[in-house]
């Protein structure tokens, strides 16, 4: 790449990395599974890079990237409407507006999550690590732990709810929530 292209590429990477987690969360809200979100995100990255030159101001990167991500998520869901349980477009629009309008709040909650993860007990922590390991199959994991899938899912659900309560407490303590 030429020097100017290198600079452009570096700037893109900086912005992409800065906002990648927010984009992941945004897309995950709109599509059924984490794997779907990964697929959409890969296409989002391609489009963002291709159209990066059209971005008028780096200050607008997040809003612009959310717009691209919404478009890609809608296209993804349209393709799979026949064989999957997916949200209707009006619901996706409402959810996209919710996350985009409150992006700072969601970012603060993700930052608080690290503290809350540190408060989990050993068993909860192990369960989460196993459930969110790459490529894991929940039914196999549940069986290997001697639990029914339903009991396993519910245990995970309780931990997620506890983490959501905890992040709200952290944000209140810091005067954010």
């Amino acid at each position: 790449m030429k020097p100017a292209e290198n600079d452009k590429h570096d700037e893109f990477l900086r912005l992409y990395v800065e906002h990648e987690e927010a984009l992941n969360g945004f897309v995950r809200t709109l599509v059924p599974t984490r794997e779907d979100a990964r697929e959409v995100m890969q296409e989002v990255a391609v489009v963002l890079w291709r159209k990066f030159a059209e971005l008028s101001s780096v200050e607008d990167f997040r809003r612009w990237a959310f717009g691209v991500a919404k478009f890609k998520a809608l296209a993804f869901v349209r393709d799979r409407m026949r064989d999957r349980l997916v949200f209707d477009e009006d619901v996706m629009e409402l959810l996209a507006a919710e996350v985009a309008d409150s992006a700072d709040a969601y970012e603060a909650e993700r930052e608080a999550l690290d503290e809350c993860l540190g408060k989990l007990d050993g068993a909860q922590r192990k369960l989460l690590e196993a459930a969110y390991a790459p490529g894991v199959r929940m039914d196999e994991l549940a069986a290997s732990l001697g639990r029914s899938p339903m009991s396993f899912y519910k245990a995970l659900h309780r931990i997620r709810l506890a983490l959501m309560d905890c992040t709200q407490r952290v944000l209140k303590r810091e005067g954010i929530a």
């Binding site: 893109f12 990395v17 987690e21 969360g25 809200t29 059924p32 990255a45 919710e98 996350v99």
Partner: protein, 305 residues
């Protein structure tokens, strides 16, 4: 109107992919009509995303380690872009992709290389079976060819590498090798054996984006009993592991990464898949390269006193 508990259950079942069409309709009705519930749903999905992006591995670290030799990074890393960036850990080999690594010290261990057949494709005439590798060929899969340096891509080491040929329809491309676990040394004891598989991938067009994939399946059947029909039964594998590496346009050079799989003692074969998927059909005809496949048995070592 559902109770709060029931509404939370609707979220859980959707996120886990177990919601029925009726539950899906009910969930959507609530999302349309209740902004507070909408926020609760978005927070739950956002948490699910955050937990799935490697944050757990990052917070579990004992100490971050910046390694001087990036080739060995994939032994321990999991993907967590923002934490890694915040910690100032960026690894040279990935500096033009969006992939950053986070290193977790897991204690001392010894890696014993296993004898994979033609890991660097240094014999130009090695047999490549179409489809699943059979007795006559150790490597098999989609169209592939052993080539010398071309398209600006040099082999990782030596003179040759494997080119995964372009796919006319842009579908994923992959090659396989089956490793005979009976050949493992008898000293490899314990209920489980940990095996690490790594490889290097490169593209002929740096403007393309791709996902490189390594998958491993531990199966109870002997190597000679496995054929192309096995792939349809891959869900019956005793254990499996998958890792993808997403590479953004502009990423130059070889992208190396690896996975680890816990292999039960009753597994007789290890099926390894190395693949690439190009989401943008405009780049479906781009050639990709595979080289430097390494398979190692991981043996924990006692910590020094």
């Amino acid at each position: 109107m559902n109770s709060d508990h029931e509404r939370l259950e609707l979220i859980r079942r959707y996120i886990e992919g177990t919601a029925t069409p009726e539950e899906m309709q009910s969930l959507q009705d609530h999302l349309r009509n209740d902004p507070t519930f909408r926020r609760l749903f978005a927070r739950y999905a956002s948490l699910d995303s955050a937990l799935g992006d490697g944050r757990l591995a990052a917070t579990a670290l004992i100490r971050p380690v910046l390694l001087a030799r990036p080739q060995s990074l994939f032994n321990w890393l999991s993907w967590r872009p923002l934490t890694a960036a915040a910690a100032g850990i960026a690894f040279g080999m990935f500096c033009t992709s969006v992939v950053f690594g986070y290193v977790v010290q897991r204690g001392l261990e010894k890696k014993m290389p296993l004898a994979v057949v033609q890991p660097s494709f240094e014999a130009a005439q090695i047999p490549l079976a179409k489809g699943f590798p059979d007795a006559s060929a150790h490597w098999g899969g989609d169209a592939a060819k052993v080539v010398e340096a071309e398209n600006g891509v040099q082999p990782v080491e030596g003179k040759f590498m494997l080119r995964l040929e372009a796919s006319p329809k842009g579908s994923p491309r992959a090659v396989y090798q089956v490793f005979d676990l009976a050949s493992l040394p008898s000293s490899a004891g314990g209920e489980m054996r940990e095996i690490e598989i790594s490889a290097s991938f490169a593209t002929a067009d740096v403007e393309s984006a791709e996902r490189y994939i390594i998958r491993a399946f531990a199966v109870s059947e002997a190597r000679e009993n496995l054929d192309v029909a096995w792939f349809d039964r891959r869900d019956e594998a005793i254990a499996s592991a998958t890792r993808g590496l997403d590479v953004t346009p502009g990423s130059k050079g070889w992208q190396a990464f690896g996975i680890r799989i816990q292999v039960p003692l009753n597994a007789r074969s290890l099926v390894m898949l190395f693949g690439v998927r190009t989401p943008d059909k405009a780049y479906a005809r781009t050639a990709h390269y595979l080289d430097d496949v390494q398979v190692s048995l991981i043996e924990p070592q006692p910590l020094p006193r």
